[in-house]
């Protein structure tokens, strides 16, 4: 049971130009499941390792329960970590792997036994307690790594892409298991992933990082509905949002024949700070429709149709201001167009997002 606070925490590797993690400010509530997500090299793993004590904090501080742990070694932080490659001790049995940390803490043997058995039961590992990690499948190893963290009953769980070595099906299954396990135990959890679907489905809140800088930290719904900037808008959601920088008039953004209306406030903001008569506008593939030619949609020529079974993704291009721009639309299978067709795309009313053309900030 603990809160975690990053206060302007930075990590600058010697010999690199910009910090791997730059002045990270983040507050994680007691019992919360927070997901750090971002493309590779964005500093999400480094942030986690700073919290674990495996990486130095060059500037700022990290608190667990209002206690400054910035300069404490990992063992004094009362945290448990699940590694990407599981990092099981190859020479110990499953039981010994789970009991190792407890033994170091001089927990009485009887209690170790109770806790390990209980964790093994939760994770369906009872039959494997005497096996070595080598004799386990990937999914079982992953569960042992989880079990090693659970028996500790730590203040904070740290998980560094724990699902990335599992196959697709097992990943989906384990994803929900971890989420329900976490809510059952109620232990504050920080989870790192590069997969935005994992982030959206597991996290109470999701923190999106890019180039070591925190972009936005909010609930999955808020990230999806009101992305704070162009990067978050493009990163969250699959297929990715259609984001184009187009000309701006008093009525709104000009997409060829189609005009996406913007409020007076938005237009004023778009023109400020060197907007240069342009605005960046995005709309999600699943928040637009294919309409008939007369309803004021934007004409696109279909290049590719992905039939997903439950629906279809239509990829096409349109000429806007002389440039050919690509668009994606998620549509019903009944209205699936053919290759080479021209279809008319229209975002649902008030379901588009506007960003400043140069700063990328939401307006």
């Amino acid at each position: 049971m603990a809160t975690v606070t990053y206060a302007q925490a930075s990590r600058h590797y010697p010999g690199t130009e910009r910090p791997a993690v730059d002045k990270l400010d983040l507050e994680i509530r007691d019992g919360e499941f927070l997901v750090l997500v971002g493309p590779s090299g964005c500093g999400k793993s480094t942030s986690l390792r700073m919290l674990a004590g495996l990486e130095d904090v060059d500037n700022g501080a990290i608190y667990i329960n209002d206690k400054d742990v910035t300069n404490l070694p990992p063992k004094s932080r009362d945290i448990a970590m699940v590694f990407q490659n599981y990092a099981l001790y190859p020479h110990m049995t499953v039981y010994e792997n789970m009991a190792f940390a407890l033994k170091l803490r001089k927990t009485p043997k009887s209690e170790i036994d109770v806790r390990v058995k209980k964790a093994a039961q939760m994770l369906q590992l009872e039959d494997y307690l005497n096996r070595k990690p080598k004799a386990l499948s990937g999914g079982q190893r992953q569960r042992v790594a989880m079990g090693r963290a659970i028996v500790r009953e730590p203040q904070v769980f740290l998980m560094d892409e724990p699902l990335s070595n599992l196959d697709a099906k097992l990943r989906v299954q384990t994803r929900s298991q971890i989420a329900s396990l976490q809510s059952q135990l109620g232990i504050t959890t920080v989870y790192v992933t590069h997969d935005q679907i994992e982030a959206m489905t597991m996290g109470h809140r999701v923190a999106v990082l890019l180039d070591g800088v925190l972009q936005q930290c909010d609930t999955p719904r808020a990230l999806y509905d009101t992305p704070a900037n162009v990067f978050v808008a493009g990163f969250i959601g699959s297929p990715a949002m259609n984001i184009k920088t187009v000309a701006l008039t008093d009525e709104g953004a000009i997409f060829g024949q189609m005009i996406l209306p913007l409020s007076r406030d938005q237009i004023a903001k778009a023109r400020a700070e060197g907007g240069d008569g342009k605005v960046t506008v995005g709309f999600r593939p699943e928040e637009c429709e294919l309409v008939s030619a007369t309803e004021g949609g934007m004409p696109i020529v279909v290049d590719l149709v992905e039939d997903l079974g439950s629906g279809a993704n239509v990829y096409g291009h349109a000429a806007i201001n002389g440039d050919s721009e690509r668009f994606v639309v998620a549509t019903d299978r009944r209205t699936m167009p053919n290759l080479g067709d021209t279809v008319f795309v229209k975002p649902r009313t008030d379901h588009h997002h506007a960003f400043h053309a140069t700063t990328g900030v939401r307006i």
């Binding site: 495996l54 970590m81 590694f83 190859p90 190792f100 940390a101 170091l104």
Partner: protein
Amino acid sequence: MTAHAEAPAIPTATTPQRTAAGRVRKRLTSRWASAASLIIALLWTVPTFGLFISSIRPEDEIKSNGWWNFFAKPQFTLDNYQEVLFGTSSSSGRLAGFFINSLVITIPSVLFPLAFCALAAYALAWTKFRGRDWVYIGIFALQIVPLQMALVPLLQFFSSTFDLEGTASFAQVWFAHTAFAIPLGTFLLHNFMAELPGDVIEAARVDGAGHARIFRQVVLPLIVPALASFGIFQFLWVWNDLLVALVFSSGSDVRPLTVRLAELAGTRGNEWQRLTSGAFVSIVIPLIVFLSLQRFFVRGLLAGSVKG
């Protein structure tokens, strides 16, 4: 990014390894390779076999004709062994006592370097301190210095600094062997240790282990193959060593087998029938060590070449 996009990558990632390992195995188990290695093994064994046959022939036979005549006119005796091991006359081997000396010299001379090198390798591989890489390079570079060059300075060091001149003790020999073994041993064990997966060590740190415990409970069990192979190398080296023993062991009370064997040949030129049995006595222990630890030996040599 999505789950289904990555699914096909998983089987392809593991297949090349399996085929590479499979190819090596296939090549090594082919009939011609087996035949060739069998022939080589036989050829290499012939001299040792001849030595053995000689050692069980009577003195007159050894001195008059070659060992292969044994098969035409077999004559069997253990007199040579009896004499080199337990003979009481001053001219006979009395190898039994020297045998013990060899053991007393060899065992600590293996254990000390193992302990020091493992500790040093751990420090150089898994702790962070200023100048770590330079220390490692320095130790590594010391391998260039031939030990013959260090003999005289080391001898001076013992006699002047520790005033050990003329005292018969094993300590000098242990010290010399340990010192000479450290550069190579540290290098070998460091390379092996550095290959251990870093996140296992980190997991141990997060689990609450300090360096001492990580070393004892995580690293040591994982480097047993490397320890064993370095141990065997060092054992064979020390057991067969003549030079260091001759220079640093003063007085016949502390001299090992090798020195005595050399004396047998040198001072008793007319009694060289003893050499064969003497040599065989000195082979016994290395053979036992090698055969009992060869499992580790092979694993240590192959370590790191094939992953998983």
